[in-house]
Symmetry: C2
Subunit: 258 residues, 2 copies
């Protein structure tokens, strides 16, 4: 197996009808990243292996553990580990929670998050037209080179109504959102006047991350779940899904489509 920053080349046996051939294929790399916060081990994320500081900070920020860049003292990367030190001990309130997880699971914190969201409403004056949405989705597909090569990653972008500002790709759809969040935190990019466009399915966790980021419009190539739609409805998030061909479906708060 020959390794590159994002992908590896491996030998395979390709069967096609009655033909059997030895060939080579590009496959996406998977990189375990363990996040430590003030020497406490928080989680190991399986990711693509790029922009580790954005991923770690975005994850911690979307979990409510890091609120601003100012609170960070030092970030150290050592192989498969990233150590984030903050000025204050921000884990105080957090250690009571049993576990935080990613992907399909949300440790003991899940219901707390839903309760917290009872009072949360995303506020933003952003509006967008169907033509702008289709244009941004085309732009996202143009940038999805690693996907085209490996079929193994998701893509997400933070956008204005006319262009992509931040683009990330990762084997985990949650990670693409966390990387955007982390980059915005480190580079002081204002998120509130922008939307997110993604290739991934929309589960409750994705909608919760968008809520934490205070982003008012989420556009996806793929389908949402009922819980994602319920939470989006509640927190005032405009959820647009199944954007394909020249069509799209608006699931919640269509007042932002103009």
């Amino acid at each position: 197996m020959s390794k590159k920053p994002f992908y590896s080349m491996v030998g395979i046996v390709h069967y096609q009808d009655k033909l059997k051939k030895k060939e080579e294929r590009l496959i996406v790399n998977e990189f375990p990243l363990t996040i430590y916060l003030n020497k406490d081990e928080i989680i190991t994320l399986l990711c693509t292996g790029d922009y580790l500081e954005y991923l770690a900070l975005g994850f911690l920020s979307n979990e409510g553990l890091i609120l601003s860049k100012d609170g960070i003292k030092e970030i150290t990367i050592d192989k498969n580990a990233i150590f984030i030190e903050t000025k204050e001990d921000i884990l105080k309130g957090w250690t009571k929670r049993r576990s935080i997880t990613s992907g399909c699971g949300k440790g003991g914190s899940f219901y707390d998050v839903l309760e917290e969201f009872d009072s949360k409403k995303i506020e933003s004056n952003l509006v967008i037209s169907p033509i702008e949405i289709l244009y941004l989705m085309d732009k996202l597909e143009e940038r999805s080179i690693l996907y085209k090569e490996t079929h193994g990653v998701h893509n997400s972008a933070l956008c204005t109504t006319s262009d992509i500002i931040v683009f990330h790709q990762d084997i985990g759809r949650h990670n693409t959102i966390d990387k955007i969040s982390g980059q915005c935190l480190l580079e002081n990019i204002d998120k509130n006047d922008k939307l997110v466009v993604t290739s991934g399915r929309i589960s409750s966790e994705i909608v919760i991350k968008l809520g934490k980021m205070n982003i008012s419009i989420l556009v996806s190539m793929a389908a949402p779940t009922d819980l994602a739609v319920s939470i989006a409805e509640k927190i005032n998030l405009t959820l647009i899904a199944n954007v394909r061909g020249r069509g799209m479906e608006v699931y919640t708060h269509p007042f932002r489509i103009q």
Copy 2:
């Protein structure tokens, strides 16, 4: 929103070219299930909401926490929680681990799992032909009714070389594998002479679950990661991916394709 066991019907606004129409769409349900083992909270999985006992037992079994049906005293389901009581206190060795997670993350246990697998080799005399693989993938697609309706789930099946024995669908690709594992445990289904066919991408976590289940052949419609291929190579698992049209790619141990 009108709710059914697996899906809900929601109102949407459908934009297609210059046409805007109010329509209804089926979307898949997302169900948070918190697993308790002998009164300890283990994890909350976000799942489709069916076969909760298979999912919970399969998850615990693939984490090495439950080894056989005999050790289980009682299983109680109460709304979004499942309580599993075992005859012996099996959490003794486990509590040292910081967290277990699902989806994109593998708490502190990840490297331990890889180390454990250094000595593990799947042993099985199972062989399969390319035609049988294509037939099983067709069968899987035939059964994927919820996917066709919602585009929101993954499908996996435990198969002999000629038919599907156990079929499961879920919003999480990991959950489909755990459900198979749990059903095999509860119904004493022998897994070692069978293979798994899935619609989901193959990450390291999926390969690790297959290793725990001692299944020797994994067939996927989608792409693998480099880490998944490395682990499959190491544990003697035949990994066949990108099964599409009449073609397929064999990434590891092609000796089982005959």
